[in-house]
């Protein structure tokens, strides 16, 4: 049985379809990333699956039940981290975790949650005195304190510094290794690349891709040529075939092309003429971010 099954989900606000006939499944133990630009319908999807909203059409089954009408026993099997931090600032970290833990039939020990979230040193600190990143980790701690079978993570690492983000990834990997199913939204493609077994891409309320990350990377997206450029390198007279595909970004060229040979030929010729050293030249398949951006551009040409 799937942990999550969405069939023809639709959610309308007046005349606007925030979700339009979206269907997908998440198998038990799977990690699925829900991607899409702002306003694509990610949070609406999550809120329907979490039981906060009822769909205008279609059906949602989560752990075998309709989340809109599910009871306490179902909620004890589901953990979630909302998009924005929602904590009482007056409580200490240990008090907040302990109060939430008391609701579940088999909560994790407090020390374990503090260790998993790297907050052991802040157990006695009031939540309101923590940094934004630390508060986010308390959110994650509350999400996992009840040992959920299914964990909804809505942008769980937003606001975390790179080291804390990587720690969070390790924790999520540990949870999934223990069998927890995870559905997460994120704007960090690196996060989806590392954590997700599958990615779902939403644009304007429609599901436009449901694939494994490597499948998405291979799916018709152009090969990427990357080359760092020394400071002051003139790029104004790049060959038209290259200039059209070039993306001068922080002192480098990122060329997405379906004709690698022609692009390299043009690039090498230009480099020879201008005596530019192409040290660090990389040619390879698109990253998940490249593939995602190409897909979004294809679906919503005005985006970018």
């Amino acid at each position: 049985m799937s942990a999550v099954a969405a069939e023809h989900l639709t959610r309308r606000y007046g005349g606007l379809a925030a979700l339009d006939d979206v269907s997908f499944e998440v198998a038990a133990g799977e990690v699925v990333a829900l991607l899409g630009p702002n306003g694509a319908g990610k949070t609406t999807t999550m809120e329907i699956l979490e039981g906060y909203q009822a769909p205008s059409g279609g059906t949602a089954r989560v752990l075998g039940q309709d989340p809109a009408g599910a009871g306490r026993a179902w909620r004890a099997r589901v953990g979630l981290v909302l998009q924005s931090t929602s904590l009482d600032p007056q409580l200490t970290v240990a008090e907040a975790l302990g109060i939430f833990a008391s609701l579940f039939p088999r909560p994790r020990p407090l020390a374990e949650v503090l260790e998993l979230t790297d907050l052991a040193g802040e157990a006695g600190t009031r939540v309101g005195r923590l940094s934004g990143g630390q508060q986010r980790r308390v959110d994650v701690g509350i999400g996992i304190v009840g040992r959920p079978e299914l964990l909804f993570l809505d942008e769980p690492t937003t606001g975390l510094d790179p080291a804390a983000r990587r720690h969070a990834w390790t924790v999520i990997e540990g949870l999934t290794a223990a069998g927890t199913t995870v559905l997460l939204t994120t704007h960090y493609l690196e996060e989806a690349q590392r954590l997700a077994d599958r990615v779902l891409v939403l644009t304007r309320g429609r599901l436009v891709a449901d694939a494994r990350p490597e499948q998405l990377r291979r799916r018709g997206a152009p090969t990427v040529i990357r080359v760092p450029l020394p400071p002051g390198t003139p790029t104004a007279d790049l060959p038209p075939t290259l200039a059209a595909a070039a993306d001068p970004d922080g002192g480098r060229l990122v060329v997405r092309t379906a004709d690698v040979t022609a692009a390299l030929d043009a690039l090498v010729g230009w480099a020879r003429r201008h005596r530019v050293e192409l040290a660090g030249l990389e040619v390879g398949p698109p990253s998940l971010e490249d593939a995602y951006l190409a897909l979004i551009e294809e679906e919503v040409p005005s985006h970018a």
Partner: protein, 260 residues
């Protein structure tokens, strides 16, 4: 690398009493760390007592009753309802809805804690009135006072719970609730009789929970002997307000922020 522990055998959800006990403790922690509760429930009534004292340093029972009611209702209505709106708009209530906590659990915990802190506020004000300002309160007042303050705090907290649903945002909570509170309490005589009030307005205010709270506490404090004096009629009115407001709350209470 930290490794999440494997789940043990399934267990049952916590029962209603342990759930309520944790929620009451949680809300008491929040109230205990809320400076508004201390200011509204203790400092303001005691300050007003000092301003009311006669040249001989005495405070009449009627004045003491008004200050007690002021502190109790400020906690039960204003502090409670502002806290609810703030928690709702910050997403705290939405977060609770995603847990196995039953809906009644959160509200019951909040109401119980609010009533308990309101009672403590009333007790402090009465003690200060007796010890510092020689207010004559007999031992027979205790039971009636407990009942009057308990019913009054519950009625006001229930009304605050219902009203909170109609407050659109956290910044609007304090001004809107203050606007709905002070006219009612002033006309109810919490700071003494107000002259020049039209009869129809006095009659209208008599139906609101302010006047019965003031009357019940005044009645209870007036028991100078050892015999308890329980203001049954006022308590019945307050109980009706509490029941009606709780019923309305069940229908209109909102868990999600307005923007959600």
């Amino acid at each position: 690398m930290p490794s999440p522990s494997r789940p043990p055998v399934p267990a049952r959800l916590p029962g209603p009493w342990p759930t309520l006990a944790v929620q009451v403790r949680y809300q008491l922690l929040l109230l205990g760390r809320n400076p508004n509760a201390l200011v509204a429930g203790v400092l303001l009534p005691v300050l007003l007592l000092s301003l009311t004292a006669t040249r001989g340093g005495r405070v009449a029972v009627a004045a003491l009753a008004g200050r007690v009611v002021l502190g109790v209702t400020l906690i039960a209505y204003l502090t409670h309802a502002v806290g609810l709106v703030t928690a709702r708009e910050a997403g705290v209530l939405k977060r609770w809805r995603a847990t196995p906590l039953p809906r009644w659990g959160y509200l019951a915990g909040r109401l119980c804690a609010t009533v308990a802190v309101a009672l403590a506020s009333g007790a402090v004000t009465v003690l200060v009135g007796m010890l510092a300002y020689h207010a004559r309160v007999g031992p027979g007042a205790a039971l009636g006072l407990l009942a009057a303050l308990g019913f009054g705090a519950l009625a006001w907290a229930a009304v605050g719970t219902a009203v909170s649903a109609f407050i659109p945002s956290a910044p609007a909570a304090q001004p809107l609730l203050t606007l709905s509170y002070f006219p009612v309490m002033l006309l109810s005589g919490v700071l003494g009789t107000v002259g020049g009030v039209p009869g129809w307005l006095t009659g209208l205010v008599g139906w609101l929970p302010g006047r019965p709270t003031v009357d019940a506490v005044t009645h209870a404090l007036a028991a100078t002997g050892a015999t308890p004096s329980v203001p049954v009629h006022d308590l019945a009115v307050l109980a009706a307000w509490a029941a009606a407001a709780l019923l309305v709350s069940v229908r209109v209470f909102r868990w999600a922020p307005a923007a959600a």
